[in-house]
């Protein structure tokens, strides 16, 4: 935001006129209600009482009304063309949103950079683009303020885009991000396509009705099918579901939690923009009834992810393609029930802020004790006042990771590490147990892993605030920075003594006092002497009872998009005291080992990718493993043996050796598998062992085959060759070694059951495919596929194999 602002300031009052008719600039507009100041696109200036539009806390209003559309959380450059329809009288001013204005027959757009609400009167900083030739073309990132050639802005079809195009683009983008490819040209292209289709779809969905889903003016959404109509129920009360008894049941528990923000404000309660996060402690949950709504109108559709927090990670259990608005009515909640049947500690609802969840409530059916805490405005929040002298510790197991793109959070045995790079970010947060209205002391060990940090929060809890805004120098939210440049890969013992009653806190590093922040109030509802630091801390943090570490976009409560850095924390403790605390500087023993980052602990976001399951005679361990599958093949026959990679985590390179008995089998072909298809691949058969090597420019995660080896059986019936994996060298994309468990296979020379064409010991759909391919002679004939024993392989064999493959 700061960078954008600075760059934008260079454009102040200098509208650049391009051949395309586009002008652009940056302006600050004062609150209309206080000043009657409005903005004129044609002059690029603010003026008293006249212009195209004005802004006040009540809303943004175009004089020639209705004339404004809130395009949502998109960048200015993402809006290449003004929608033909859908203009309304007023839109709520939300930082980070782009708006399209229609005034006097011409179109313009502006991006609300920041609301300077600590000023009196309030001011609004906007970056704007105006089309002077009367067309709806509004340029793009490549064209703003520059000559726009024909075709650059005409990529959005006037007829709008279908929902299928929209969701396909969305899925492509999110799929790449879930694969850890968020920082690739492919992902950038996918994002550009998504933004284009999204704008196109939303502009068309207001009146052209491209979607196959019909809408009504009520709070229901109906879809016609060839055989009837089904209406999504919009009941206001979750249905009562009796708790299911379970083997672990103790006391049945029903929790009803809610999270609500102002409609259209679209700031989620969770740490991600438009995301609602509920933390309620460890609880055995049988099912959850979820009711949610988004803050967008016009039948906004999005893929809503329902996630549970278990085993230290958020895992998606359901994804719902949802329409949670209805026509011009923003409020059209949806309700679903999802089974869980597991012990979880949190529940999350998110749609990546395509439509932005602005209201949700969940009813949890389970057993165990009452909830411990919630990060949201829940109905069950019950925080008791900690006693004076009480000490709270926050080991890694207490923290919740949140990451985006290729950034990652590691919650190790004793330390928390984040590796954040744009686009995307990484942070950790946890419920705060201590009271920030009475004195307390926070201590922790802190280390940066790079000298290129930007806007990395060292500690933030609603009163204390310590960051590195650039490089390695600490700041404490006051004018100027603290006089310490941290050395990279060195642990520092950070201490902060908080005196909320006095409105100040002291900051120490390794026992040396660095400075004091003053004029403070709990909850950031104060006017700091900020210097270069941003100000929107004021209005967000009071709603939270959390502690934050890492790269967080404070404005939207998502992992930061522009920030970067590597940092670790450990030994985080807070000691609560009553009244005034006497500061005592404790001598600190510096860690002589100065341990570096442990990138091997860095984990990737969970992926939903799946691939073929494997069959092996060896038990397969949980976690990351390389599995040589077992096969059976007749003498003289050939068989494909996949080397399956289970639970790959941010793989950057991989090498391993597969040993076999050359007297029993012969290598025919070695191929790259599906999971590592994007990697560079090489292999070498050394007659008895195959050496494999992969190197990938991107982090690879998920499940699937790493390689496929085709063997020819040389041995006699009854002989076999073990397939032994060794010398596995797996390195993460971040350069650290990764532990991969080998699972060896066995290649047996012998008779399969009829129909088991791939020799994996079971009948499957793949066997049917092989039979079909044998029939059309695209695979060599092998009568093992002749399941009906008529001496030939035909489509009938394929059909019979499929029948027998049924579960």
């Amino acid at each position: 935001m700061v960078t954008t602002l600075v760059l934008a300031l260079l454009l102040v009052s200098v509208p650049a006129v391009a051949d395309s008719g586009l002008t652009s600039g940056f302006a600050k507009i004062k609150d209309w209600d206080e000043t009657h100041e409005a903005f004129s696109f044609s002059s690029g200036q603010v003026a008293w009482g006249s212009g195209d539009f004005f802004i006040s806390p009540r809303g943004i209003h175009v004089f020639e009304s209705p004339g404004i559309i809130d395009m949502g959380l998109v960048y200015l450059d993402d809006v290449g063309e003004a929608p033909a329809t859908g203009y309304v009288e007023m839109a709520a001013p939300v930082d980070g949103h782009t708006y399209v204005v229609r005034s006097n027959g011409k179109y313009g757009k502006f991006y609300l950079e920041e609301t300077y609400d600590w000023l009196t009167p309030i001011q609004y900083g906007i970056s704007w683009v105006y089309q002077t030739n009367g067309t709806r073309s509004l340029g793009s990132s490549a064209s703003t303020g520059q000559t726009v050639t024909s075709g650059q802005t005409g990529t959005v079809a006037d007829t709008g885009c279908t929902y299928e195009q929209y969701i396909t683009a969305y899925n492509k983008l999110t799929s790449l991000m879930s694969q850890g490819k968020g920082d690739t040209p492919e992902a950038q292209a996918a994002y550009a396509e998504y933004a284009k289709v999204k704008a196109c779809y939303e502009s068309g969905s207001t009146g052209t009705g491209q979607s196959s889903t019909s809408t009504s003016t009520s709070t229901s959404t109906s879809t016609s099918t060839s055989s009837g109509t089904y209406t999504i129920p919009t009941t206001t009360t979750p249905p009562a579901i009796p708790p299911t008894s379970t083997s672990t049941a103790s006391t049945p528990v029903t929790l009803h939690l809610t999270c609500e923000n102002k409609d259209n404000e679209e700031r989620g309660c969770g740490p991600f923009y438009g995301t609602h996060t509920y933390l309620f402690g460890s609880l055995y949950v049988t099912s959850v009834v979820v009711r949610f709504d988004t803050g967008r109108k016009f039948d906004c559709r999005s893929a809503v992810s329902l996630q549970v927090y278990r085993n230290g990670a958020w895992q998606t259990i359901e994804t719902i393609n949802a329409v949670s608005s209805s026509g011009n009515s923003e409020f059209a909640p949806l309700e679903v029930q999802v089974p869980v049947n597991d012990t979880i500690a949190g529940f999350r609802i998110s749609d990546g802020c395509v439509c932005c969840i602005d209201f949700s409530e969940i009813t949890i059916y389970g057993s165990q004790s009452t909830p411990q805490s919630s990060t949201t405005t829940t109905t069950s929040s019950s925080q008791t006042s900690p006693a004076a002298g009480q000490t709270f510790s926050y080991p890694p197991s207490k923290w919740v990771p949140a990451q985006d793109g290729q950034s990652a959070v590691s919650l190790g045995q004793d330390q928390i590490c984040i590796s954040s790079m744009k686009p995307g970010g990484a942070m950790a947060y946890t419920k705060r147990d201590y009271d920030i209205t009475s004195d307390y002391t926070v201590e922790f060990d802190y280390m940066v892993g790079t000298d290129d940090n930007h806007w990395i929060i060292v500690y933030s809890d609603g009163y204390l605030f310590l960051i590195i805004d650039w490089g390695t120098q600490l700041s404490h939210c006051q004018t100027g920075r603290l006089p310490l440049h941290l050395e990279v890969n060195r642990w520092y013992k950070i201490r902060m003594d908080a005196y909320p009653g006095q409105g100040k806190y002291d900051v120490y590093a390794d026992g040396v006092k660095l400075g004091t922040a003053v004029n403070l109030h709990v909850g950031f509802n104060h006017k700091l002497e900020r210097g270069n630091l941003l100000t929107w801390l004021d209005k967000i943090y009071p709603a939270w009872d959390c502690i934050y570490l890492g790269d967080i976009d404070n404005e939207y409560f998502m992992a930061g998009r522009y920030n970067r850095g590597i940092a670790c924390w450990k030994n985080i403790t807070v000691r609560q005291s009553a009244g005034t605390t006497t500061s005592t500087i404790t001598p600190v023993t510096e860690d002589p080992q100065k341990p570096g980052l442990d990138p091997s602990q860095i984990v990737s976001p969970p992926t939903t990718s799946t691939a073929t399951t494997t069959t092996s005679t060896t038990s397969i361990p949980a976690g990351t493993a390389l599995i040589a599958e077992s096969r059976t093949v007749m003498t003289g026959g050939t068989v494909q043996v996949p080397i399956y990679f289970q639970d790959a985590q941010n793989i950057g390179s991989l090498g391993f050796t597969l040993s076999y008995d050359p007297a029993v089998v012969q290598v025919v072909k070695v191929s790259k598998g599906s999971l590592l298809s994007s990697a560079t691949f090489t292999s070498s058969d050394q007659s008895g062992s195959i050496i494999f090597g992969f190197a990938s420019p991107q982090a690879i995660s998920g499940n699937g085959s790493a390689a496929v080896v085709e063997f020819k059986a040389l041995g006699s019936a009854g002989s076999s060759s073990s397939l032994t994996l060794s010398e596995i060298l797996a390195t993460s994309y971040y350069g650290s070694s990764l532990a991969v468990s080998p699972v060896n296979g066995l290649l047996t020379i012998g008779q399969n059951q009829p129909g088991d064409a791939d020799g994996d010991g079971k009948l499957s759909v793949l066997d049917a495919l092989i039979a079909l391919k044998m029939y059309v002679k695209t695979l060599p004939l092998d009568l093992i596929a002749d399941i009906n024993q008529d001496g030939k392989v035909t489509p009938e064999d394929a059909r019979l194999i499929m029948q027998k493959a049924k579960p």
Partner: protein, 160 residues
């Protein structure tokens, strides 16, 4: 005279009972909510299929709300061989084979459901145990899934 009147009244009452009883019965039948008895078809869509030779998956649903009645081929799988199993309540197994390979986006299969529940909750249709293989190389294909509902098709995304 009085006995004739009573007799007439009895005859009329008997006739009325004969006429009214079936009407009452019909009214009861018509009170069954229409929305709980409809048939719904849901396509299972493919996204970015590329030389898809074989595919099997399971669709999980809530049998208290809907019951599966059948599976037919979708537009994308017009040339494919399809099989399915409804033998397990709440779980449909579907398999497709096409040695020519399926490509692009579209519906792979269409599931017919019969609504039996109260209709107060939109059931989630979840895809599980997806196995896919390339028609030429027979190598596994990486997939991800998006759950759906009776109104939004579940999607199998073929990511590579």
């Amino acid at each position: 005279m009085k006995s004739g009147t009573v007799l007439r009244a009895l005859i009329i009452a008997a006739l009325a009972a004969v006429i009214i009883m079936p009407l009452v019965s019909c009214v009861k039948l018509s009170r069954k909510p229409a929305s709980t008895t409809g048939q719904v078809t849901v396509p299972i869509n493919a996204s970015n299929a590329s030389n898809l030779g074989s595919l099997e998956f399971e669709l999980v649903y809530d049998p208290a709300i809907v019951q599966a009645e059948g599976v037919t081929k979708g537009d994308l799988a017009d040339n494919a061989m399809l099989d399915f199993s409804l033998s397990r309540s709440g779980r449909i197994w579907v398999a497709l084979v096409d040695s020519n390979g399926l490509n692009g986006n579209g519906s792979l299969a269409v599931i017919s459901f019969h609504k039996v529940g109260s209709g107060q909750t939109a059931p989630i249709l979840k895809l599980e145990n997806v196995n896919a293989h390339n028609a030429t190389t027979l190598v596994d294909i990486i997939t991800s899934t998006t759950a759906g509902s009776l109104t939004t098709p579940p999607v199998i995304n073929f990511t590579r």
